[in-house]
Amino acid sequence: MCKDMPPLELAIQFHGHICPGLLMGVRVAEFAQEYLGVGRDYDEELVAIVETDSCAVDAIQAILGCTFGKGNLIFKDYGKSVFTIGSREKSKAVRFSQNIDALAKPQFKRFRELNQKTSLSSDEVAEKENLVGELFEKIMTASFEELFKWREVPYEIPAKARIHKTIPCALCGEGVMETRVIISERGKLCPSCQAEIGGELNV
C-alpha cells in the first residue's frame, strides 16, 4: 500500500458498499477520534458500546478498530442509533445519539425504497447512484450537530476481555468456553447441546 487508507476507505472496504448508515458511522468514528485524541485501537485501548447492529457499526469497527473478535465492541440490542466510545488510556468516554430526523429527508426514504427492491430498472439504478451521491455529500458536509447529539459521559467502561479455559462438551465433544458450560445430569454441556436436548440454557 502506497499510503495509509483514509478512514472512509477503511469503512467502505470493510462494509463492502457505501450507504447512508455507514457514513453516519464514519462521522461518529472520526468525531470520537478527534474528541478523545486517539488513533485506531491496537489492543483494547478503546471500547465501543453500540445499541444497534446497523451499517454504522461497521464503520466504527473499521475506523476505530473496536471489533467483535477483540471484545472491545459491546453490542446492546436496543435498536437505537446510540454509540458510546471510550478510551481506557484517557479515562474518557463520549456518547452519541443520532438525531431522530437526521435521515428523515425524502431522499433517504427513496433510497431505502430502492434499496429494498430486488431488481431495479436502468433508470432506477441511475437514480440510486445519484441519491447515494447526494446523501454522501449531505452526510459528510453536514455539521456534526445536525446529525448527532453528543456528550461526554462518566467513564464506566468494562474491563478488558478475558480469555477463559476451553473444555470439551460431554455430548458433542466440541470445545466450549468454561464460563458458558451448563452443568446437567449428562455432564458439562455446551449451550447448543443443552438446547438440543430441550434443557434450559441459563446463559
Binding site: 499510503k3 425524502p106 425504497e113 447512484e129 445519484n130 447515494v132
Partner: protein
C-alpha cells in the same frame, strides 16, 4: 380529504402518476418528490403544470433529461487503477472517444497529436492504434508530475488532458499548459472520494466565467453527465467526489471542446 391525484403529461398525453398524494416537494434539477397517503414515493423529472385543488388534481409535465451530444469528445485514461504510477514503471495511457466516459468507436489515431509536458517543456509523443482506443506509452518517467494532452483538429477542436503522478506526494501547484480552452485543477493533490475538488476553466489563459462544466466518473449508470455546473466569476467549479476511480471534466466553448481526467484510485 385534502390529498390529490397526480397526473403526468408525456408528449401531450396525460396519465395517472400517483393516487392520493399528500406531499409534493420540488427539488433541484426539475426533480419532484411525491408521497402518497399509502406511503408510496416517487421522484420524477417534471415541472408542475397545473393544480386544480377543488378537484384534487395536480398535473405535471415531464422534463426530459437533455443530453447534449453535438459531437463526440476525446479523453485520456491511465492504464492503472492505482491512482498514480511508480518511478520505473511504464506509464501507459489510453485515448478514448465517446461521451460521458462511455467509449463509442475508436478515435482517429493518425489525426491525433499527443504531447507530454514536464516543467513547461512539451515533447511530442506517439499514439499507437489499438483495437478500441489509442495508446500512449511514455516509458519510464521520473518521479514527478507529467501533464499529457491530445489534440484533434477538425470542425471542432478537441483537447484531452490528464495529469499523471509518478511517485508520491507531488502536491505542488500545477501551471496551465496553454491550451486554447483548458481545465486545470485548482489545488492538485491526492484527490479522494469524500472530498471536494475544484477546477478552473481557462480560455486563452484567462478564467472563463459562466460556462457549463460537466463532470462524470468511470462506471456511472447515468446516460448523461451526472454533474453539470456553471463556472463562477473566477472560472471555477467545485464538486464533491462521491465515486471511486477516475473523474472526467468536460467543457465546450465555441468550436473547442476540452476534457480533463482526474486520476485517482479511491
Amino acid at each position: 380529504m385534502c390529498e390529490a391525484n397526480v397526473y403526468i403529461n408525456r408528449e401531450g398525453r396525460e396519465e395517472i402518476l400517483m393516487e392520493k398524494v399528500d406531499r409534493i416537494i420540488p427539488g433541484e434539477d426539475n426533480n419532484i418528490f411525491l408521497e402518497s397517503i399509502f406511503g408510496e414515493r416517487k421522484i420524477v423529472q417534471a415541472r408542475i403544470r397545473e393544480m386544480e385543488l377543488v378537484h384534487h388534481r395536480v398535473v405535471l409535465e415531464e422534463v426530459k433529461q437533455e443530453i447534449i451530444t453535438p459531437d463526440k469528445e476525446i479523453w485520456l485514461e491511465p492504464e492503472t487503477d492505482h491512482g498514480h504510477f511508480h518511478e520505473g514503471e511504464e506509464v501507459r495511457l489510453k485515448v478514448f472517444q465517446g461521451y460521458n466516459m462511455r467509449a463509442e468507436g475508436k478515435p482517429a489515431c493518425p489525426e491525433l497529436k499527443a504531447f507530454a509536458v514536464v516543467d513547461g517543456e512539451a515533447r511530442q509523443i506517439d499514439i499507437a492504434e489499438k483495437e478500441d482506443c489509442g495508446e500512449i506509452n511514455l516509458g519510464s518517467e521520473v518521479d514527478g508530475l507529467v501533464q499529457v494532452y491530445v489534440r484533434e483538429s477538425g470542425k471542432i477542436d478537441n483537447y484531452a488532458k490528464i495529469v499523471v503522478e509518478v511517485g508520491h506526494h507531488h502536491h505542488r501547484g500545477l501551471q496551465a499548459i496553454g491550451l486554447p480552452l483548458e481545465i486545470i485543477p485548482c489545488d492538485y493533490s491526492h484527490a479522494r472520494m469524500g472530498e471536494s475538488y475544484e477546477v478552473q476553466v481557462l480560455k486563452e489563459g484567462k478564467p472563463l466565467p459562466g460556462v457549463l462544466v460537466r463532470a462524470t466518473f468511470a462506471g456511472t449508470h447515468n446516460r448523461d453527465y451526472p454533474h453539470k455546473l456553471n463556472t463562477n466569476d473566477e472560472g471555477k467549479v467545485k464538486i464533491f467526489l462521491t465515486a471511486r476511480g477516475n473523474y472526467l471534466f468536460s467543457v465546450n466553448d465555441g468550436e473547442i471542446r476540452s476534457t480533463y481526467t482526474l486520476m485517482k484510485s479511491f
